[in-house]
């Protein structure tokens, strides 16, 4: 009884916090003499960024804000699917030398940092190629506590050495040079075809040295960029962005953005062709982690966009395949079913002799049979139905559907459960309820994770695995959990991987031997043939041959039964019909903010409600 009261109090508290925040917005608007003339877009986020410093933009929320406050050299086309890179601050795609080692990039003229006290006279100066050099160097400076260095580690000539030499910004890095104010040259140690993708990440955003030195640690909450928006306010309950009036004038070309009239005409984007973004004067981003509060704010018209909570899918969706909006809601909202650019998978710790590699070949073979039986027993249809409302995409393997190299034929959708096959494998390998090892399934303590564990235990019970031998290994926080599996202490690790760029190399590296824990290979999987293929493909540009290699690697991992994989979740994104936009939580991410525009019947967007 008391808990109910507690939960209600929590909701009331959240609602009050949201109301106070909205009120704060309203007050500031009233102070603004042109407040009621301005176009406002209110985008609810289901979490909060930890920092607005691009070097620390490691979570999805930070990335969304970072690419609006700062500029990156590249971004993903607003409307093209599959996702395609396009120049952002760069004038064009990089010029790459014949050996694939030297990238030369010109930046657009006229890009300016916002006005800020850190600049002489408080006037923002022009963005130069040297700012990009500085911004990448920051990732290798221990003082920055940056989280994106892995993107360029052991890739750029002299950069790792620069770090070892003490990270002196006045010392030049041979492989990272500004040839002049608008020309940047990057020299690689070995070909890295994904380099341009890394330059579309929030981590690679351009920051001015003056501001970093002026604000010190406070730079994390005082962003000074050249992006389409500047920060008006930021606290634990939300952020408010104002249009950067000095943002470069570059008209939107729907064709160049990959506009598909057949499927996208309903979005009302036509009128925007040729107009100069950003289109909205102000963007309010409340952070509303609680599903119920977020949903209620949306239904009440307090925000224009939300990632819909799964608990409301029954009410939201009229059909699942494809997901369509219910009649009632379609009068007011638009829907986009956004397949995540990643997947959820459960890895076996191959370093654990009870389930993984074993010095005795016979036992190693029996362990493999046990793993394969567990893989066969896993019911992806049920997992999808119960936790993802049946609209996720289950597939076999480690190349998710959003990767260009995904092979629908090989990675059959909804991998079939094979109870009889699993039982046969166990029997033939001599496993029985008495001699099967205790399976420890790790997870950070939460209701959903616990329910996933219980479902896993019931799957195992179906093949005769004693329930008392499938045990939870719980951790208070995700950090504790991550620490444990990075220390190889967890037998079964369930994690989600969000791809950094649309290239299956980004998931292949999850099983590359050299990346074993504490690296990203949490399965601690080591297969010489897989590793050989990984090294061979790592320097290859996209090609049918490389795709073929990736698919072979995919097969190897699945045949070794090193992981139970996987499912890509479908996010349901809802937004106010009065807005002309196509939101995205995948590779485009926050880049779409600049293209959000009022559509038909835009009245509610003009400085009303929260503003």
């Amino acid at each position: 009884m008391s808990r109910r009261g507690g939960v209600s109090l929590l909701w009331i508290g959240l609602a009050m916090a949201a109301a106070m925040w909205m009120t704060a917005c309203s007050d500031s608007s009233q102070d603004d003499p042109v407040g009621d003339q301005r176009l406002v877009y209110r985008h609810a986020l289901d979490g909060a960024p930890r920092s607005l410093d691009p070097a620390q933009a490691s979570n999805v929320y930070a990335k969304i804000l970072a690419v609006n406050l700062y500029d990156t050299l590249y971004r993903y086309k607003y409307l093209a699917r599959p996702y395609q890179l396009t120049p952002n601050l760069a004038e064009g795609m990089p010029q790459v030398s014949a050996d694939g080692l030297i990238y030369t990039i010109r930046i657009k003229p006229g890009a300016l940092f916002i006005d800020d006290p850190s600049f002489p006279g408080g006037k923002g100066r022009a963005v130069a190629a040297s700012d990009f050099v500085y911004s990448i160097k920051r990732h290798f400076d221990p003082e920055t506590r940056a989280q994106g260095a892995w993107l360029w580690q052991e890739r750029i000539v002299g950069l790792d050495q620069w770090q070892k030499d003490g990270a002196d910004y006045d010392q030049e890095v041979p492989g990272l040079r500004a040839l002049d104010d608008r020309t940047l040259q990057i020299q690689l140690i070995s070909p890295f075809p994904q380099l341009a993708h890394t330059l579309a990440q929030g981590f690679s955003a351009v920051v001015p040295r003056e501001a970093v030195e002026h604000y010190g640690r406070e730079f994390a909450i005082n962003p000074v960029g050249s992006g389409p928006y500047r920060l008006e306010r930021f606290n634990s309950s939300g952020a408010v962005l104002e249009k950067n009036e000095r943002f470069r004038q570059h008209p939107l070309s729907l064709e160049a953005e990959g506009y598909d009239p057949a499927s996208q005409a309903r979005l009302g984007l036509n009128a925007l062709d040729g107009r100069v973004p950003p289109f909205m004067d102000r963007i309010e981003v409340p952070f509303i982690a609680e599903d119920a509060a977020r949903w209620n704010a949306f239904i009440a018209g307090e925000v224009d966009f939300i990632k819909a909570p799964v608990t409301q899918f029954d009410r939201i969706l009229a059909s699942r395949n494809p997901p369509t909006l219910s009649e009632e809601l379609s009068q007011r909202y638009n829907l986009a079913a956004n397949l995540e650019s990643g997947f959820v998978h459960t890895d076996f710790n191959m370093d654990d002799p009870a389930i993984g590699y074993h010095p005795d070949p016979d036992q190693a073979s029996r362990n493999k049979a046990l793993r394969c039986a567990i893989v066969n027993a896993f019911d992806w249809d049920q997992r999808n139905e119960v936790f993802y409302y049946g609209i996720g995409r289950a597939f076999s393997g480690i190349i998710p559907p959003t990767a260009p190299e995904f092979d629908a034929a090989q990675s059959r959708l909804a991998p079939q459960r094979d109870i009889a096959g699993a039982r046969k494998l166990l029997r033939e390998a001599g496993w029985n309820p008495r001699n099967t090892p205790v399976l420890e399934y790790g997870f950070p303590s939460s209701v959903t994770e616990r329910q996933m564990f219980e479902q896993f235990r019931s799957f195992m019970a179906d093949i005769g695995y004693p329930p008392d031998k499938v045990r939870p290994l719980t951790f208070a926080t995700y950090g504790d959990y991550a620490r444990a599996y990075l220390n190889r202490e967890v037998m079964l690790t369930t994690t989600g991987w969000t791809m950094d760029y649309p290239d299956a190399e980004n998931t292949m590296q999850l099983f590359y031997g050299a990346n074993a824990s504490p690296g990203s290979n949490s399965a601690n999987y080591v297969n010489p043939e897989f590793d050989r293929l990984y090294r061979a493909s790592a320097t290859m540009p996209p090609s049918p041959m490389r795709t073929s290699i990736y698919r072979s690697m995919n097969r190897i991992v699945m045949e070794d039964c090193a992981t139970i994989s996987g499912i890509s979740r479908t996010l349901i994104l809802l937004w106010n019909r009065e807005l002309a936009m196509l939101p995205d939580r995948s590779f485009v991410g926050g880049f779409f903010f600049r293209f959000v525009a009022p559509g038909v019947g835009e009245s509610s967007l003009r400085g009303e409600s929260s503003d």
């Binding site: 009884m1 008391s2 808990r3 109910r4 939960v7 599903d291 119920a292 949903w295 909570p309 608990t311 409301q312 029954d314 139905e385 119960v386 303590s445 939460s446 209701v447 959903t448 616990r450 329910q451 219980e454 479902q455 235990r457 019931s458 019970a461 329930p467 045990r471 939870p472 290994l473 719980t474 951790f475 208070a476 504790d480």
Partner: protein, 280 residues
Amino acid sequence: MGTRRTWAHLKGDRAGLVGLLIVLFFLGVAATVWLGWLGQGWSEASGGRWLTPNADHWFGTNLLGQDIFARSVYSVRTAFEIGLVVALVSTALGAGIGALAGWYADSWIDGSVMWLKGVLDAIPFYLFVAAIAYALQGQWWAMHLAMIATFWTTTARLVRAEAMKLRSHDYVRAAQAMGLTDMRIIWRHVLPNTVHILLVQATIAFVAAIKTEVILSFLGIGVQDGVSWGLMLAESTQEVLAGHFANFIAASAMLFLLVLGFNLLSDAMQDALDPRGGGA
């Protein structure tokens, strides 16, 4: 303390009898679970998702299709296991420490006990218990330890006062004169005369342990492997948003009944065992 007179007093207290019946009912349910007659399928996903109550699933099913009745019933066992362990250990610990402190009143032993008790009592209860449970998470006994670490203090305070009083009684002085050791006197003559306090305190600790377990499990730092009303309530926070209330109603109703039963019983026992109330 006359057992007959206590029972007679208890029989005359209707609310106390209702409490006793409720507790006995739940004890019976827990026994059937211990014996393997009820609730054994609590982890099986045997039905469809969120089924309404029906002949196969009396309380309906949850998100995973697990039987809510089986889970509720199995949670009675969880509650009694935790309640018993915490009540017995914390009461025994409080009795021992309190008797020592009372017997050696104004000595360094008493001073240390009172200082420790003061420190523990100064920390907000749920914050302290949650901190210990959080720090030791992953250990099945973390929650038990967290509760025992705080529950013993009240018992110790009451027993200490009783021991100080008993120390001046003639029969205790006689025992001293006969050369019995302090420990023997405490064990044979002091502690047995604090039973009326211990019984009531154990009952209070029992129900407090159950409530605390529910709260800790709700927060994810309680029961790790198994099911409890706290875990069911935690699950229900997501289900009620989708309009499914069976988990919430089942867990909170059973928790309410058991807590009500224990509260009525402990009130009645307090009256019955109170030497000033004529019950003993």
